[in-house]
Amino acid sequence: MAETDFLSQYSIQRWLEMCPQGYLDDTTYGHESGLTEPEDLLANDDLREASIALTVQLIAGERAALAASSGLVNAAPDHASKAFLATQTLDEARHVEIFTRRLIDLGVKEEDVDSTVNDLANPNLVKFAEVLLEKVGNGDFIAGVVGQNIVLEGMAFSVFELLQATSKDLNPKFAQTLAGTIADERRHVGFGENRIGSLIREHPERKADIERMQAEMSYHMLATFTDVFRGSGPTMDRERQAAAAEGRDLGSAEWHGTDVMAASTDDIEALLAGTVINEFKTRLGRIGIEYQDPKVPA
């Protein structure tokens, strides 16, 4: 059977029916027209700045995904994979656009978007992207797809789910934006697992190199989580205290058995890191790659 048999039902036409004519139909920048960022978020400088910092990390991650998926189009050894990656490239470009639009909605001037992203993008996230883009730049399709569609997308899948759970009640606009990206990620991780699942059997000699890349990317991912949660922890604590003092109910949001609206930032970081790592282990294990523990970030 051909290596890309799993793509036999996939086509640009199918992508059109699933995305623009499916879950993105009637959306503007990924959400229902007319929805805005919550007034209390825009009026609170502390919260607004924390939201800008978080959104910058999403943009940085999506810019890396855009560079990687577009680079992999030319590295792909078959036409079916090229066509899929072309649709993924447009998905990633859309993600960059909708998160950039959110930055502007949060008050960043259009002409300041790039400098804001450059200033606030976490250095570990930048290194995470560099490890991946080096493989893509070398035309290494197998390592590039594992790095992009299993490691990066696997991380994004869990991060977006967590953010969506916390935004569902407090920020429907952001939650809707995330729902569309989660739907996109399903296809991307599906492509990664299925394409590499067959390829790695033909190239077992590549496993060691791929496992090294995964460990390096995981290290920078965990370090990014640590930095981001350390940075946002005080804001989150202040907001919770203010809400309690004013008698405002922030509600609850269960994610993987934990109420993330009540949990400490340390606990949320541990939950997110544990969830992503477990997913890596499961996904990589299914395709015959052994997950490698990274060095523990300082």
């Binding site: 799993f6 029916e17 879950y23 399903r186 599906g190 697992e193 299925n194 699942g197 067959s198 269960e254």
Partner: protein, 125 residues
Amino acid sequence: MSKATDEQTAPAEEQGNRPAAAYESVPGTVQPDEPGDGQAPRRTYELEDTGFREVPKRWRKFYRVWQGPGDSLAPNEIICPVCKVVIRSHREFRPGDRAYCMPCMSRMIVVRMPDGTLGAEVIYQ
């Protein structure tokens, strides 16, 4: 959600119900019936659209979002191990069946898990 019809007391052929082949299924879904295998006829289900919009309209009723704790799977449902979407069929799933997850393009075979529930293993081709 799913409304079950018990084929056990109303075998398709004898009662004039639609034969198994008449039930629409997503391409890639294979649920063979082997005459004389000693198994009861499969239960059948009416599928309703649950608002899942990640596949073309024709196929939407065959998938739904897993709701997390508190949700449960009917006998005609399995979870895609790759993207966690619930895959649904008009007919009860059994070990050995093949299923296709259109949202993430994975093909899988239905297996009996150690805890007795039905699960799926991805087939990489």
